[in-house]
């Protein structure tokens, strides 16, 4: 899949909220040869930001060592129904995408 769709699921636990984000992204290392024998240029997410109700709570920097179509899970302290979670990414080509969900 090309870089694009995202999906997020937030599950309220006791005292914390589990969040799982799925991202479509090739996460090309720049070291892999394509069918034509040439190296496929590096193309990977470098930054992930998680915000809760507009406030940043996680800033991640990642490398091409993260697998294709990344699945990123994290935990929020507490959490309440209706809290708005936003996850965005930025890749090495300057492409960006984001998704939002409210804790149900």
């Amino acid at each position: 899949m090309a870089a694009g769709p995202m999906k997020m699921r937030a599950t309220l636990g006791s005292g914390f909220t589990d969040v799982r984000v799925l991202m479509s992204h090739p996460m090309e290392t720049g070291q892999r040869k394509g069918p034509d024998g040439n190296l496929v240029p590096a193309h990977f997410i470098q930054n992930l930001t998680v915000k809760v109700n507009g406030k940043a709570v996680i800033e991640a920097q990642i490398s091409q060592a993260v697998s294709r179509n990344p699945v990123f899970s994290f935990r929020l302290k507490g959490g309440a129904k209706g809290d708005r979670i936003e996850v965005s990414w930025l890749d090495n080509r300057g492409e960006t995408n984001k998704t939002e969900t409210a804790i149900a």
Partner: protein, 264 residues
């Protein structure tokens, strides 16, 4: 077969602790990749394609009848393959989807089957659609058609195909999937002719394969086994492939569907 099973039980009992640990760790790996699977992304894309107007008639597939009535998806995949009166053929999911593309959307066979198996960069329409539709059967017990004479004939043909040795390497499906407790490299080989081994397989295909980041369908799975058996290529949704699918699905029937799965 009975003696083989007994042998396998003995082998397991006396297997060195190392092998037991390795097996446990590989199970853990399998579980963790399933938890961290991007498979839902494929379901989302498939939903879009299901609803997308396409073909000369510019209609979506939403009125496609997968056996539960036009547009009814809940549990439809779990009841495939089955006999369809309108075509008087036993069809699996991909055969039926192709049928709907041709009839509802007015597309031609060549165009619709030009690229049935995709790759990591560009999955195929069939793959996306299979992900979406299979996902609508989660929790529904796998119960393919087993009554109609053509359904029974498909099962019998699939069963014969499974054990049929041919090709330059003299392989049948059973050459690899015929004996308990065996593996190829590190990969355990389910004895697909037995219910206990077939059940978890049919309950989790189609599936996302982490080794190549690709979403794969049962038609592809059968196709790729025949590649490794050194045989010519099965034609997409041909009677032989549907019979194979029918044999596996009937053998593994009854467990609730829990796919699309995630494989190593």
């Amino acid at each position: 077969m009975r003696t083989v099973t007994f042998g396998a039980v003995l082998a397991l009992t006396f297997a060195p602790a190392y092998a037991q640990d390795a097996k446990k760790e590989i199970q853990k790996y399998q579980q963790m990749i399933t938890e961290g699977s991007p498979v839902e992304l494929y379901e989302l894309e498939g939903e879009d394609l299901w609803k997308k107007r396409q073909g000369p008639k510019n209609v979506s597939l939403e009125q496609c009848d997968l056996g539960m009535g036009p547009g009814r998806l809940k549990g439809a995949y779990a009841h495939l393959p089955r006999h369809f009166p309108d075509t008087d053929r036993v069809m699996d999911l991909e055969a039926r989807l192709l049928h709907c593309m041709l009839t509802l959307q007015g597309r031609d066979l060549k165009e619709a089957t030009k690229r049935v198996f995709g790759n990591a960069d560009r999955p195929s329409e069939m793959e996306y659609l299979s992900a979406y539709i299979a996902g609508q059967s989660r929790g529904v017990p796998v119960s393919p058609g087993m009554e109609h004479p053509k359904e029974r004939a498909a099962f019998e043909l699939g069963r014969k195909l499974f054990f049929n040795r041919a090709g330059p390497w003299d392989f049948s499906c059973a050459s690899c999937h015929g004996e308990e407790g065996k593996r190829i490299r590190m990969q355990d080989l389910p004895v697909l002719s037995t219910p206990q081994a077939a059940r978890p397989v049919v309950a989790t295909w189609p599936a996302y394969r982490v080794s190549n980041s690709q979403f794969k369908t049962m038609q592809w799975r059968i196709n790729d086994c025949y590649r490794q058996m050194r045989m010519p290529e099965p034609t997409f949704v041909s009677e032989a492939t549907i019979a194979m699918n029918m044999f596996l699905t009937v053998t593994g029937n009854s467990e609730p569907y829990r796919g699309p799965g995630t494989k190593r």
